[in-house]
């Protein structure tokens, strides 16, 4: 019996060490999924007249400094905040929508991409399942990357770039690269874009997207949506049904909520401005996307 207790104590110690080590790591490299809920941005005092940009990494690639300056110069009143988060989707965004509403923005511009509606829905909540709402692997990989960056093996985190009014932005030198067409083709192929599917029926992400818009409108916040751009290589590979279903969902949303939509999907597909097949580079040579977003905001403010 005593030996058994010693074994169990040893096992408990092993657990405690592992969990302790993980909590230290997690403290240093929190999962963004959790971090967003308690982010200091939501406690800040912001300007009175404000506009929010929401979306995922596609919106994160915008040059917010350029947009903030241009919009403020033209409107003399509005401050733009880019709240895009890498790997965001409507379901995740819905979790902090109340916090966003509490900051009382005047207009929300929501950038939406194919990926937002393509994730596999998990409507069937498993009975008795205890869910752990964190992703330890994310934190571990962040820590590994950080160590490799310190050693100079990775460059993107070491050369972290900052941008105005972009509290969730994580962007590095890598995001400023403009890829060649050949590399874009190769990347598209490796990402297996031809497998990207969007379903219309029971699309969980689409229903969260609608819930977000509904909540914003209930709080008298004007909502404008815009589709984020894709490169030629990506456009070429994406299945037609995926494109059609994406369009159907967006048309349904715009009609149901009577909101305006700007379509940037294929606007820059032939231009040499791409960091990868779905992301415009964070580079002054690719400023056209940020410029157009600024113009879109100005136009909507004028209206």
């Amino acid at each position: 019996m005593a030996s058994n207790i010693r074994i169990l104590i040893s096992l408990s110690i092993a657990f405690l060490i592992a969990l302790g080590a993980f909590s230290l790591l997690y403290n240093e490299f929190p999962d963004t999924h959790i971090d967003r809920k308690n982010h200091s941005f939501f406690k800040e005092k912001l300007e009175d007249e404000k506009i929010f940009l929401l979306g995922s990494s596609h919106v994160n690639q915008l040059n917010t400094t350029h947009i903030v300056n241009k919009v403020f110069t033209n409107t003399e009143k509005y401050t733009v905040y880019n709240l895009a988060i890498n790997a965001d989707d409507p379901k995740k965004r819905f979790e902090d929508i109340e916090k966003i509403i509490s900051l009382n923005p005047d207009i929300v511009f929501y950038g939406i991409s194919y990926r937002d509606f393509s994730s596999i829905s998990n409507d069937q909540i498993q009975q008795y399942k205890i869910t752990i709402d964190i992703n330890p692997k994310f934190s571990t990989m962040q820590a590994i990357r950080s160590v490799l960056t310190e050693l100079g093996i990775f460059q993107e985190l070491k050369n972290q770039l900052s941008d105005t009014n972009s509290p969730f932005k994580m962007i590095g030198v890598k995001q400023t690269i403009i890829e060649t067409k050949e590399n874009l083709e190769l990347q598209t192929k490796n990402q297996k874009i031809n497998q990207l599917t969007i379903k219309i029926e029971n699309n969980q992400q689409a229903s969260y997207f609608k819930k977000i818009i509904s909540k914003l409108q209930e709080n008298d916040i004007k909502v404008i949506i815009f589709t984020t751009p894709i490169s030629h290589s990506f456009n070429k590979e994406i299945p037609i049904t995926t494109k059609e279903n994406f369009k159907i969902i967006l048309n349904d949303v715009t009609e149901q909520f009577e909101i305006k939509m700007y379509n940037f999907t294929n606007k820059y597909s032939e231009l040499n401005i791409w960091q990868n097949p779905t992301h415009v580079s964070y580079n002054m040579d690719a400023i056209i996307f940020s410029e157009d977003i600024a113009n879109m905001i100005i136009q909507e403010v004028d209206e």
């Binding site: 030996s3 058994n4 010693r6 074994i7 169990l8 040893s10 096992l11 110690i13 092993a14 657990f15 060490i17 592992a18 969990l19 080590a21 993980f22 790591l25 009975q127 008795y128 399942k129 205890i130 752990i132 709402d133 964190i134 992703n135 330890p136 692997k137 994310f138 934190s139 571990t140 990989m141 190769l186 990347q187 192929k189 490796n190 297996k192 031809n194 497998q195």
Partner: protein, 490 residues
Amino acid sequence: MLFNSVEFVIFFIVVATAIVIIKHRKFQHFFLLGSGYFFFYISSNYLISLLIFSTILDYFLGKEIYNAKTKTRKKILLILSLSGNLGLLGFFKYSDFAILQFNAFGSNFNLVNDIPLLNLALPIGISFYTFQTLSYTIDIYRGELEPSKKFREFALFVSFFPQLVAGPIVRAKHFLPQLRQKMDNNQGIFKIKLIKIEKSNLKLGITMMLIGFLKKMFFADNIAPFVNEVFFNTTNSPSYEIWLGTIAFGIQIYGDFSGYSDIAIGAALILGFKIPRNFNKPYFATSPSDFWKRWHISLSSWLKDYLYIPLGGNKISRFRTYQNLLIVMVLGGLWHGASINFIIWGGLHGVYLAIHKIIKNTCPQLTENSFFKTKIGKIFSILVTQYFVFLAWIPFRVHETDQMWYAMNKFVFFDFQLNGLLEFLMVHKFVMLIIMMFGVLHFISYIKPDIIFRLSNLRLYNWTIFATIVIILVIFFYNGNSEDFIYFRF
């Protein structure tokens, strides 16, 4: 309830603690029986009724077979048991598959072709517990086993939770005697042994469970997204992608299933029950027959004892032996699921076994050649065997027929389109690292076959370090959404 879930860990701790507290054998048995039913109910809900039906049917038929005076009556009762169990299995698992084939046949010959599908829910673990209860009645029929005297003993054998839903397939003749193990109470009276958590079993059991969690949650779960990506659509994929995807799937399914088996064996061992091992370094098999002595051992030995040997085994003509190998492996494939893919997978293994036997029979000088006894010869045998084993994983994994043929074609006829290889490896560098780690660990376990015993025999201080490392790997690389065990579907 999955083994790789918090609720299982809590459940297991509760069960093990209760077993220590309960000091009466009968109540221990009742408690384990209740735990098994609870475990199964959580996973399968009302389909637990099938498990109970199967248990009652075979308990009474087992007794009747044993008591039957004539061979004919024994045979009739055995047929009743076979039809009851296989009937349920067939109805729930294969009826839609049969309807689909019937409709396809009908449309080809302008016959009835619109029989609606039944869309039945597949009861979890039905393939496993059906084979377990069948082994019970068959062994009694053969005179190799006495029927269980108590219903609770037999019910506990069928519903013992560690191996209930995904094996290993335990035989009654291995399990029941463990329930009846007796001990002397020093007064000359022999009493049935209490279930006790022994020190050696506890440490070895925890070690096995840790290894199982590592295989499943670190290796299989971290490789799974890569495999899904490669095999979601193989159209236009170059050979290197198919090769890497196939190798990754081979590791994933091994990590997944052998990980489950290790957790099951470890959990049973902690509770004082020995379950035979299910895997023995299968990717170091030197021939197809060697592979089946190392992969899913409980199923392959079941098929051998209850199907291959009754069909005549290798005691009949050579042609019939080859035919039997093919039949057994096709049925073994079909056991995994109602799909052409599993038939192809089983069929391929049947062909491998038959060809290997043909070579052994017709060219004994080749198989006995001293070259195959050298290190290089052994490596050569392993590589050739694994080439065919991994080729067969493609139909197991890729369910779209045209994509399956495409992938197999690319696997066999390497296209040497390597221009995107470096980029592909860079994109998936983490998975490649895990694959390499698996290779190293699998090799270590091959050259040191008793590695788990060695680990469990480490001094407590070192053992704690080992446990910490494993737990760190499992926790740190858990992505918050573990994949279901592949063999739960069977």
